[in-house]
Amino acid sequence: MTRYVLRRAPSALVVLWLSSVLIFLVLRAIPGDAATAMAGPDATPETIAAIRHDLGLDLPVVTQYLHWLGGLFTGDLGRSYLIGGDIADLVGTGLGNTVVLTATALLIAVLIALGLGPLWAATRNRWVDRVLTAFHTAAVALPTFVTGVVLIIVFGVFFRVLPTGGIPPKGMVDRLDITAQYLVLPAVCLALPVAGVLTGFLAETLRGELRQDYVTTVLAAGVRRRAVVYRHALRGALPVAITTLGLQTGALLGGAVLVESIFSWPGLGLLVEQGITRRDYPLVQVLLMLSVTVFVLVQLLTDVIHAALDPRIRLGAQS
């Protein structure tokens, strides 16, 4: 197992390193330079020079890069110019909110998939199959911003039963029932595409699993179909489900940005949106690097879990 991790890790590190170079260089390639862009149209040359010095843009590029890379490890990320405060603090607060949102969404997605996937695979009712096919297509295809706005219109504007955005007012954050009210719409919105993809893959894998000989044997022995699906076939389908989930991280990260923007959820997504519109490049740089790091690490983790569950991969890849 350790050997598998050791073999798989270097390529992830290479991707991370190349990404860091790319992010660093690309934001240096801004027409004019970052300082001019950040200072705005009517800034004096002195202001621009001051910002340039503050950002370290007057240093050689390699020094800048190493300084920035060092900051990523030590947490010394500099100050956010336009939003105010330490970038590390901003990112910390945002990260907490985003983790709460994505974790809830992930939980919802997994619950939906575990409920509907086996049902879809095992059903012999034509209408159940049709409804689930429609759900799957819609959930996979519809953009987050479409479902999000529909959710807001239905639950926030017509029925007025749920808040349409933001987080609980100060002092109510500890009340779980109120936090849940604010969390439910964005979390469901973020969960739907992941739930759709996961349900589809799970059902497909389960169908393949149900055609296996061992399933026929167990069924012949008199075990009920539902029990076979949940107790036997589901176990065989687990590695595929986990890989699928890992591959959805990208969609989840991008989706989080959109969902946070639509529902004004103060996480990293909202932060990155503010950073872009206000041209706060140091902040954007850190956020981009963070999201790539999460993405690459989750892929790595997915491969490792997959290998742990399926000996063929960790042994097969060795030869």
Partner: protein
């Protein structure tokens, strides 16, 4: 005279070109109809509709739906339906130029990678890095550099599609190259370039065609998402995402404002998705 002993010949499977029935029924047909309706609306709609997408109508500020303005008017006194119809054009333009362009570049790089193993490793790493950025994160990074606008949306869609098509074609070429008919062509002494052009490439293109339909829906998604994030098509240009974004500010006042762009986006994206599903199923059959 010795009679030649007839060796039993194993039947050879020949691919018989079948008339494509995929799009005559079921998902394929529904998908084509959905996309067709939107395309028709975008092409003909702006010509027939009485209002212009940029025209500011005196006294018509944030009106609700009525006979003259079925979807109401926006904050700048413009007819929402006119903007929606013109917006469809912008989205179709982005989908129909950026996706094929990205596909072309991606396929070229992917095909090139299969020729040389050193090149292959380099290309694979490049794709790894590009794919390490989730679509929207890549969009945000690029928009930070080149600023918002239709051009940015185009560039983002192209950059998102390059690694997708590159990987797809590379994998397909590698698979097709191992197939019997390619081996047969090699045994007969076909030239390398001839085999690539005549056998490998045409047979590798199937998954690419399926991906084209999927990527069209991705392009519509990217356009809308970038507008929602404020880095998309710049005002006053209309687009599905731009109209939707404006409507978000007035959901309390007139929720129907958002229905137009929501419905068209949903229909377009679902249509492309269904076409891709049908094409994929036809491939497997």
């Amino acid at each position: 005279m010795t009679a030649a002993v007839e060796e039993p010949v194993e039947p050879v499977e020949v691919a018989v070109p079948e008339r494509p029935r995929t799009f005559r029924r079921g998902k394929g047909l529904v998908g084509l109809v959905l996309v067709g309706v939107v395309v028709l609306l975008g092409l003909v709609g702006p010509l027939l509709w009485q209002w212009d997408a940029y025209q500011q109508i005196p006294g018509a500020n944030l009106l609700g739906p009525s006979a003259t303005h079925p979807l109401g008017t926006d904050d700048l006194n413009r007819d929402v339906l006119a903007r929606l119809l013109a917006g469809i054009r912008v989205d179709l333009l982005i989908s129909l130029t950026a996706v094929p362009l990205g596909a072309l570049i991606g396929c070229a790089i992917g095909a090139l990678a299969t020729v040389n193993s050193v090149l292959d490793v380099a290309v694979q790493r490049l794709f790894d890095v590009l794919l390490a950025f989730p679509q929207l994160i890549l969009a945000i990074g690029l928009a930070a550099v080149i600023g918002p606008g239709t051009g940015s949306v185009l560039i983002v869609v192209v950059s998102v599609e390059i690694p997708v098509f590159g990987r797809l074609l590379r994998a397909a070429v590698l698979r097709v190259r191992e197939s019997q008919y390619v081996t047969a062509a090699e045994v007969v002494g076909g030239r390398r370039a001839h085999i690539l052009r005549q056998h490998v490439l045409p047979n590798s293109l199937e998954p690419v065609l399926v991906q084209l339909a999927l990527s069209m829906s991705v392009a519509v998604f990217v356009e809308g998402a970038m507008s929602v994030l404020g880095i998309g098509v710049t005002p006053p240009s209309p687009s599905l995402g731009a109209v939707l974004t404006t409507s978000l500010r007035y959901l309390d006042l007139n929720p129907l404002f958002a229905i137009g762009p929501l419905a068209v986006t949903a229909v377009l994206v679902l249509g492309f998705q269904l076409i891709a599903q049908a094409a994929n199923a036809a491939r497997g059959a």
